[in-house]
């Protein structure tokens, strides 16, 4: 086909583009991914047995909130990186805030606790499996994020992959918080964060392959 004819046919079927199309697509991908992740969590681990009492405690909401807020900030950043010539800008600093807040709270609880409680605070009883569970539960979210971003036009694939992974890891951690019965802030600061980092690393490594569009 000649270029002139191509231009004619492209402008012939022109339809108005509603603003916010990018945000809607990212929200749809992550929303479907979250449904998948929740299904995995329910089928595999199930909600913690004392969920009814737990939702009355601040620790539950700190865990859930840390993961969910981080995930939502990264989702906004992801929508930005899904566009050509994207600039992450000040949003990177905003994304660091939940980490800093949780690390500070964890450090405070840690120094206030008696030394004989330190080991249990850091390691809980699931530290060795927690990051892996977060990553596994985050996989459907990662698939949703990849689907959404591939259909847009990322031009920095590694960065977009990193953020897609981090976002899936963080939202996956929020889903996992419903199943997890750990109760210490230092545990949260270390092992939840590690799960998110695991997914971010996976996203960065696979980004240039998974997110390539034609």
């Amino acid at each position: 086909m000649k270029t002139d004819e191509l231009i004619a046919s492209l402008s012939a079927d022109l339809r108005r583009v509603a603003p916010g199309a990018v945000a809607r697509r990212v929200a749809l991908g992550l929303g479907l991914g979250a449904l998948g992740s929740t299904a995995v969590m329910l089928a595999w681990l199930g909600p913690r047995h004392d969920l009814a009492q737990a939702i009355a405690t601040p620790m539950f909401w700190m865990k859930f909130g840390y993961a969910a807020v981080t995930g939502l900030i990264l989702a906004v950043l992801l929508a930005r990186l899904a566009k050509p010539a994207a600039r992450a800008g000040a949003l990177v600093a905003v994304a660091a805030i939940p980490f800093i807040v949780v690390a500070a709270m964890a450090a405070m609880r840690f120094v206030q606790a008696p030394p004989q409680a330190h080991h249990a605070m850091l390691m809980g009883h699931t530290s060795m499996i927690c990051p892996w569970r977060i990553a596994a539960i985050g996989l459907p979210l990662l698939a949703g994020a990849v689907w959404a971003v591939r259909g847009l036009a990322p031009t920095r694939l590694r960065a977009a992959g990193l953020v897609a992974g981090g976002c899936a890891g963080a939202l996956g951690a929020a889903v996992y918080a419903v199943a997890c019965n750990e109760t210490s802030a230092p545990f949260l600061a270390i092992w939840y964060t590690l799960g998110m980092i695991l997914m971010a690393a996976l996203g960065a490594a696979a980004g240039s392959r998974l997110l390539r569009w034609r």
Binding site: T3, S11, L14, A21, V22, K83, A85, T155
Partner: protein, 182 residues
Amino acid sequence: MDEIEPRLKGLMLAGLAGEAGPYRRLLDELSGLLRAYYGRRCPPGVDAEDLVQETLIAVHTRRATYDAGQPFTAWAYAIARYKLIDALRRGRAHLRAPAEEAEALFVPAGADAAMAARDLDRVMADLPPRTRSLIRETKIEGLSTREAAERHGMTESAVKVAIHRGLKALGGKYGGDSLDED
């Protein structure tokens, strides 16, 4: 750049609002710019016009990713560059050497020289026979002008003139820098 940016951005925003006329003008102008951009950078084996078309299609199908707060030129350039890098990657994948080509490595010794001699014969085929042998003797076999003159029973200056004309004729035919040494 100063005047291109506001004009293209205006056309793009009109296009996003569904106006076909300005949108078509945008793609027209963009295709010219892309042709110039890829013309200089297109990897071997890839048709620059294919890249122009691919980029126009990407601009069209992914136009929702343009947001009005951003310079249009930066957005379009990022897509053009992405498509170029993609073409370079694909080009590299296609350039794999065939497995069944041992003779490419084990060429008989001297094959290159034989090929060069054959090329030279072909290049000089149009020259008069005496000029041809004068050039061969002085420029390749290394005879002096005087030795060549004696061999052909010519004066030294007649040899120089014949060689000069012969080389000039070759230079005119095959272009490039003058072969003339005088």
